[in-house]
């Protein structure tokens, strides 16, 4: 028996069907409204340079946790992933869990921001945002939720400003940047970061996109679009796809000096494990973190392998360390239906208990 037997007549039908779906898809696209993201109402409470600090007002009928929760997102991609649509919003579900949610939107750095260092981001921007939230809430200490690279920043911040942090949550956060299954780390070891930053100034979002797409090029640049053809007839699914597509390619440029330091200190020198990360005048030491820590990671994360996150266990000085494993991927932990039902409630319960 032949294992491949594609008859021309069947192939022609498949082609026609593919074309028909594309045709319907265009009709749907032409009638689709603008793709909206960041759906939960929010107020800008602080602005500085390109940064905006938002607060999400909670529902009147929910008695909020008096200690606010500040979300520190990564510099890579945009933070509206956490609030991408009504039924897939980590922010909305945290509000439902009685959290008083703030979020830092880093904006889009341009050439004028190329000299921003990690010290500027962590001891500067984050610290000032924390102070604003503390002042607004009247709390001496606040809760911080760091996401991915933002989680690494939050670890550094807490180690240097423990007196301002009540509880720390890290989500899909790399800690050990050199686990054997970390593809990004393996690749970046051979890159001459000084030459790259000296040449480009800021690192273009396109370069980062290329890197991320190269992790699974056949699926992410090919098959994904073929699969999508099957969903084009469903307007809701099409809009969901477009939202994600918008987010994936909405990659801000990276301030050159911060990128240089992040790649060298975190990826190439594995500084959270080996030490040596200096921010301003001070060295980051995770043992300075004594507040409760919740570490949330994704079991099928192809960007931040689970072992890279789990490495946090035992590195801090806390006696209250917990982990939550999500059976999904790096993005699914924010946008999947399963994640919506499990992750924000787990975070809410953990915070409310502390």
């Amino acid at each position: 028996m032949k294992p491949i037997d594609i008859r021309p007549e069947k192939l022609a039908l498949e082609m026609a069907d593919y074309s028909r779906k594309l045709g319907i898809g265009v009709e749907n696209l032409l009638h689709a409204d603008a793709v909206e993201t960041g759906v939960t109402p929010k107020q800008a409470v602080y602005r500085e340079d390109k940064l905006t600090l938002y607060r999400y007002p909670g529902a009147d009928n929910i008695r909020q946790n008096p200690v606010p929760l500040l979300i520190v997102y990564a510099l890579v991609n945009r933070p509206y992933l956490t609030d991408i649509q009504e039924d897939r919003s980590t922010v909305r579900n945290l509000l439902a869990e009685a959290q008083d949610v703030y979020l830092i939107d880093w904006g889009y750095p341009d050439g004028a921001d190329c000299c921003l260092t990690l010290d500027d981001y962590i001891n500067g921007y984050i610290d000032r945002c924390v102070d604003v939230v503390r002042k607004q809430s009247g709390q001496e200490k606040i809760n911080i939720l760091g996401i991915c690279q933002g989680g690494a920043f939050s670890l550094c911040y807490t180690s240097l400003h423990q007196e301002k942090v009540k509880n720390l949550i890290t989500m899909v956060t790399p800690v050990d940047f050199q686990t054997p299954d970390n593809l990004l780390s393996a690749w970046v070891q051979s890159i001459d970061i000084d030459l790259l930053v000296d040449t480009l100034g800021n690192v273009p979002g396109e370069l980062l996109n290329w890197t991320f797409l190269s992790l699974k090029p056949f699926s992410l640049t090919g098959q994904k679009y073929v699969n999508m053809v099957d969903l084009l007839e469903d307007e809701a699914k099409l809009k969901n796809f477009l939202r994600m597509e918008k987010w994936i390619f909405d990659s801000p440029d990276q301030a050159g000096e911060s990128f240089r330091q992040f790649i060298k200190d975190f990826f190439q020198n594995n500084g959270l494990i080996n030490g040596g990360i200096r921010l301003g005048e001070r060295l980051v030491d995770l043992k300075n973190i004594t507040c409760p820590v919740l570490n949330v990671y994704a079991e099928q994360d192809h960007l931040v392998p689970p072992d890279a996150s789990r490495a946090l266990s035992g590195l801090t000085g806390t006696t209250d360390y917990s982990e939550v494993a999500f059976p999904g991927g790096h993005i699914g932990i924010y946008v999947s239906g399963k994640a919506q039902k499990t992750i924000p409630p787990a975070i809410g319960r953990w915070l409310n208990a502390r």
């Binding site: 028996m1 032949k2 294992p3 491949i4 037997d5 594609i6 008859r7 021309p8 069947k10 022609a12 498949e14 026609a16 593919y18 074309s19 028909r20 594309l22 045709g23 265009v26 009709e27 696209l29 032409l30 603008a34 793709v35 004028a112 190329c114 000299c115 921003l116 500067g124 000032r128 393996a186 690749w187 070891q189 051979s190 890159i191 001459d192 030459l195 790259l196 000296d198 040449t199 480009l200 100034g201 396109e206 370069l207 996109n209 290329w210 797409l213 190269s214 699974k216 090029p217 056949f218 699926s219 640049t221 090919g222 098959q223 679009y225 073929v226 999508m228 053809v229 007839e233 477009l242």
Partner: protein
Amino acid sequence: MSDRGFWDDNLQALQQNYWESWSRISRKALGTETPLQKNPWEMAQEHWWQAVSPAAPEIAKAFMGRMMDQGKQFFRMAELFAGSQQPGDAAPDWTEVLDRISASLGAAGGEGAASESSERLYKMMGFWVLPLDTWQRMASLLSILPGDLFRNVLQNGAESATERLFSVPGLGYSQQEQAHLQELMRLIRGYQRALHEYSQFFSGIGSESVERLRETFRRKAVNGEVTDSARTLYDTWVRTCEAVYGEHVMTPDFAGVNGQLVNAAMAVKHHVGMMVDEKLGSLNLPTRRELRTLQSRIQENRRENKRLRSELEVLKEQVANLTSVKSVRRAVPAGTRRKTVPKQKSGVES
């Protein structure tokens, strides 16, 4: 769905066109005739897209463009295996098709990314060059000129003559400029070599994927399974390629090849930037180096400014607290002052 307008009206014509042209397509898709041309399905699709795309939003254009590109890829792939010239005829031997693909990939890898045959392969086997294509799109975005400019700057043959030309030591007034150009040529050659190695790496992955696919289908044959749709074939192909790719890109070899490509591209760009800076300097125009110095100084000033402002805020609060303590002192009757003031004072100090 029949009331959705435009597409259904064209569907039958498209199918008929497809049937009429099937024989021609299959021969050309197999590579037995040159050059490879677009098939009627692709042409009809492109014609249709040209008609409707102006009305589509930007994000939809990019998104639909990708879907159409991938549709072409996976039908091209299926055509290779369908291969029949008339309905009812036998399909070609699948193992021969895989042999042919493997041979094409090997040939393209040996000849380098810039050759004519590899360009042809790009169209026919576009699927395997997706990672390379993504790089070239990115390189294009980073370049001031469209396309991956340096990919084809020095072709084989011209390269040795050019290198000889630029190997002549610089003399006299233009010595430095000659040295810069020589260095640029050397860096461009370095980039081409890095790109060639990167392409070869993917060519190797392609060949291994073909062999893996052959194994997969042999197993299917033993189990009596038949792949009878373009989509199933495509999905199997993706899974196979992704698995082989995943194994190879974890190796230090790939990290090296990948690093060399990025570093070589940056070296060219950096050198060009330096040459442009020299020209700007000679015209008394601001250079990138000067701008960078200014950016660095401004950032230092801003950092200092923010630190001072922050300290000022703290001082203001302390002064305000001291002022309020004083006014409390004044407001408190003399007889009770000794009891209340120390309490307020300690609050300020903390």
